[in-house]
Symmetry: C2
Subunit: 432 residues, 2 copies
C-alpha cells in the first residue's frame, strides 16, 4: 500500500467534527477502498473543541500556517466565509501544491474560477462536493457521470431551512413568522436567518452548478435572487388549490440570450418529483440532451451527511482521481453572459384583492389582454367586507407562458388601478 | 491534447445506436471535458443497421475479433446476454489489456467477481454504469461518492416495465393482464416479459449493487426473487386504502446473519420518496452511516438515457479515472454469506377471503397470536354472497415487524383452516 494521504483539517465546527468522526469510524474501510490510508495529521481551529479529542493531531493556531505546512498533502477547509482567512489559506494551500477539499460555497461562488485556475496551474485537486446540497453528490455526477451531455437546465431545492419553513407553513397552516421562530428554536435556522431565507445561500450553490453545467466562470453577481420572506399563508393555500406547491428553487438554464440564473420562490406542480421533496431535505435535478432528467435527493446539511461528501472528495484524491474543477479546464471557462430576468419566459401566479364593484374583473382582464398575456386559471373567492372599508375579493390567477417584462407591465397597471385594493403579488412557475 | 481514445462498439441495437448518436452530437464537448478526443474506430453487429451510418467505422463481423483487435483501446459491449459471445469477448478484451464498458447486467450478476479480477489483473477498467438503472449514476455514486460510508441498505425500483404496470393498475384500476398487454403494444414490455415481470432483470442489477455496497462477490443465486405476476387489482386497492403503494423493489441489506438480497413486490408508505416514483422511471436509494439516505431517480431504459451512462463511463477512461470494479480490489471481495428469507424481519400485508360465520375472525386472530405476531391494521369489508356459495368477506391485515418464518407458519394455518375461502396472499412491507 502507498504512503498515507495526510490531511490537515482547518475548522472544527459541525462539519469538521463530522469529518473527524467519519475518518475515525470508517478509516479501515476507506483505506481498503482508496488503496491508501487516509490520516488526519494536523488540525486548526479558533479554539480547542470540547467534544473532540484532538490530542493525536498536530495543532495549529493559524490556518495559514497549516496551509503552508509540509505535514499535510490535503488542506481541508471547513471554516467558511467568502473571503478572509478561508480564501487566503486555500490559495496558499493550492499555491504550495496541496490538494484542497472545501465545503465553502460562498468562497467558490465568488472566487471559484480564480481558485480553479490556481488549482489546475499547480496540478492539484479542488474538490467541493459538500458545498452544494450537503450529502447529495451533485458535483461528481455533473462533472463526471454526465460528461457526455449538453446540459440544458439545472435546478434544485438547495436550502433546507427554506424548505422546512415552506413545508411547515403548508402542512400546519401557520405563518412564515411563526414557523421561522420554531425553526430557530430547533436549530434549523440561524439567529440571523437572512442568508438562508433571503436566497443568498441557495444562490452560492447555484453559482457553482451553473459553471459545472455550462462551462462558464462562476458569476454570483449575475444571479437574480428573491427570498421567501414575502410568501404568505394565503399564497400557499392558493397554490395548493390550483394544484401547486411553493418551493425556493435555484434554476440555471441556457437561453438564446445567455445564461439565466435565478433563485426565487416557485410554484411547482404537485406530483412532480421536486414538489414532493419536503422538510429539511434538498434535491438537485439536471436535464441534459441524452440523460433526459435525473433528480437526486438527500440531506442538505448536518455534521455527518456533509462529512460524507467531504470524505468522498478525500477518497477521490487518495485514489488519484483528478478532474477539472468545473468540468472543463479552468482556462477555457467562458465568461457567463447574463440573460436578464425581463426576458425570462414562464408562467406566473398573480394574487391581489379586488374591490367588489362593477367592471373590476373587466379591468383586470384588459390589463392582461393589452400585453397579450393569456390566462390559464382564474379563481375569485367571495368578497369580504371589512369594518368601514369597501368589500374586497381575493383574486388569483395563473398565466400561460409569457415574457417577464410584459407581466411586470401588467403588475404596474394593476397596482395603479383603482380596482386593486393592494399591490399584486407575483410568484414564478417552473415546469418539470 | 493526448491521442484519441479509440472505441470499438460491439452491438448496434437500441443502446449502441444511442452511443453512436451521443458521440456524434457531443464529441467536441466530451473531448473538452475529458482532455482527449473520444473516437469510435470500429463496430461490430449481427447485421448492418438501417438507421445508422457506420461507413466511417471499421466493420467487424465477429465480436471476438473486435475484442482482440489492436485498433481499439476500449471494448464497448452492448450485445447483452449472460454468457456466450458477450462474456467471451469481454474476457478477451480484458485479457488483451483493453478497458471494457458494458451495459450487460446479466453477465455481471453471474460473472462479476471473476471479470473484476481479470480487469484488475490487467490494470484496466471495467465500467458498467448503464447496467444498473439506466441513466442513474448509481455505480459511480456508490463506489466513489460514498467511499467513506459503511453501507447499511441499498434498494431500488430497477425495472421500468414493472413500475409502469403497477402504476397503471393503480391509476386506471385495470388488471395486470390488461396493462401488460398495453405495455407490450407500447414497446415497454418484451413479447416474452418473464425476465422483467418475474423480477430476474431487477435481481441482476441488485446483485451488482450488493457487491458495491458490501464488498462481497456477486452472488446472483442467493437472491430471493418474487415477481409481480400475482399482484391483483384488489391488492393495489387494499394497499391504497391502508396508505401504501405496491412497488417491485430490489433490496439488499447487511444483517447479523449475512447479506439479505431480495426482489419482490413491496408495500411502501405513500409520501416516501420511493413510493412517489411512478411510470417507467427507476429510482435507487442508498443508506449509509454518515450520508443517511440518498435517492436518485431517472430513466431506467431507452437509447439516449442509457447511452448517457455508457458515455460517462468512456469519459472516465479518457480522463484516466480508474476505480476497483466493485469499490474494493476484486481479490479482497468476500464471499457473500446468504441471510435466509425465513429470518427476514419486517411487516407483512396479508389478504384472503373469510367465510362469514361465527368464530372466523377469532380463528384468524388466534393463528397470529399463537406465533406472537401482533397486528397493526385490520380491515374487513362487508361479506359478498356469490351464487350458490357461502358468503365470504375480504379480510386484510398488516402486521407489526415479525420474523418471516413465523408469518409463513401462520399462512399455513390459515390456508388449512375451514374459515378461509382461499389461499392467503402475502406482500412484504419495507420501511423508509
Amino acid at each position: 500500500m502507498n504512503n498515507p494521504l495526510r490531511l490537515g483539517v482547518a475548522g472544527l465546527g459541525t462539519v469538521g467534527g463530522g469529518v473527524l468522526d467519519e475518518i475515525h469510524d470508517n478509516g479501515k474501510l476507506i483505506a481498503e477502498r482508496a488503496g491508501r490510508e487516509v490520516a488526519i495529521t494536523a488540525v486548526c481551529a479558533k479554539e480547542i473543541p470540547n467534544q473532540q479529542d484532538v490530542s493525536s493531531f498536530k495543532w495549529y493556531d493559524d490556518a495559514m500556517e497549516l496551509a503552508n505546512s509540509s505535514d499535510i498533502d490535503v488542506f481541508v477547509e471547513l471554516m467558511g466565509g467568502e473571503g478572509g482567512i478561508a480564501l487566503a489559506s486555500v490559495k496558499a494551500a493550492l499555491a504550495s501544491g496541496k490538494h484542497v477539499v472545501t465545503a465553502n460555497k460562498a468562497m467558490l461562488a465568488h472566487h471559484g474560477a480564480e481558485l480553479a485556475e490556481l488549482a489546475e496551474a499547480n496540478d492539484v485537486s479542488l474538490n467541493y462536493e459538500a458545498a452544494i446540497a450537503g450529502a447529495i453528490p451533485v458535483v461528481k455526477v455533473m462533472r463526471e457521470s454526465l460528461a457526455g451531455n449538453t446540459i440544458k437546465r439545472v435546478y434544485g431545492i438547495m436550502n433546507g431551512t427554506c424548505n422546512y419553513i415552506l413545508t411547515k407553513m403548508e402542512e400546519e397552516g401557520r405563518s412564515f413568522k411563526e414557523v421561522l421562530a420554531d425553526a430557530q428554536d430547533l436549530g434549523y435556522a440561524e439567529a440571523d436567518p437572512s442568508f438562508d431565507i433571503g436566497g443568498i445561500d441557495a444562490a452560492h450553490k447555484l453559482a457553482c452548478m451553473t459553471s459545472l453545467a455550462f462551462g462558464t466562470r462562476t458569476d454570483f453577481n449575475s444571479i437574480f435572487i428573491e427570498g421567501i420572506e414575502h410568501i404568505t399563508l394565503s399564497d400557499i393555500k392558493n397554490a395548493d388549490e390550483l394544484g401547486y406547491k411553493i418551493k425556493l428553487l435555484g434554476v440555471a438554464l441556457a437561453t438564446p440570450d445567455g445564461i439565466e440564473q435565478r433563485v426565487h420562490p416557485t410554484l411547482v406542480k404537485k406530483g412532480t418529483p421536486i414538489a414532493e421533496v419536503g422538510g429539511v431535505f434538498n434535491a438537485v435535478g439536471v436535464s441534459g440532451d441524452f440523460v433526459d432528467d435525473i433528480m437526486m435527493q438527500g440531506r442538505g446539511a448536518g455534521a455527518h451527511p456533509t462529512a460524507s461528501s467531504v470524505v468522498g472528495d478525500i477518497a477521490d484524491i487518495a485514489r488519484g482521481i483528478k478532474v477539472p474543477v468545473f468540468g472543463i479546464p479552468a482556462k477555457d471557462l467562458k465568461p457567463s453572459k447574463r440573460a436578464r430576468m425581463r426576458a425570462h419566459e414562464g408562467g406566473y401566479y398573480v394574487a391581489f384583492d379586488l374591490y367588489d364593484k362593477p367592471g373590476s374583473v373587466a379591468c383586470v382582464a384588459n390589463a392582461f389582454s393589452d400585453e397579450g398575456i393569456s390566462m390559464k386559471m382564474i379563481k375569485q373567492h367571495a368578497p369580504v367586507e371589512t369594518d368601514g372599508n369597501k368589500a374586497t375579493a381575493p383574486f388569483i390567477l395563473i398565466t400561460h407562458n409569457t415574457e417577464e417584462a410584459k407581466l411586470r407591465k401588467v403588475l404596474e397597471v394593476l397596482k395603479n388601478g383603482d380596482y386593486c385594493a393592494n399591490e399584486p403579488r407575483m410568484i414564478r412557475i417552473e415546469r418539470f
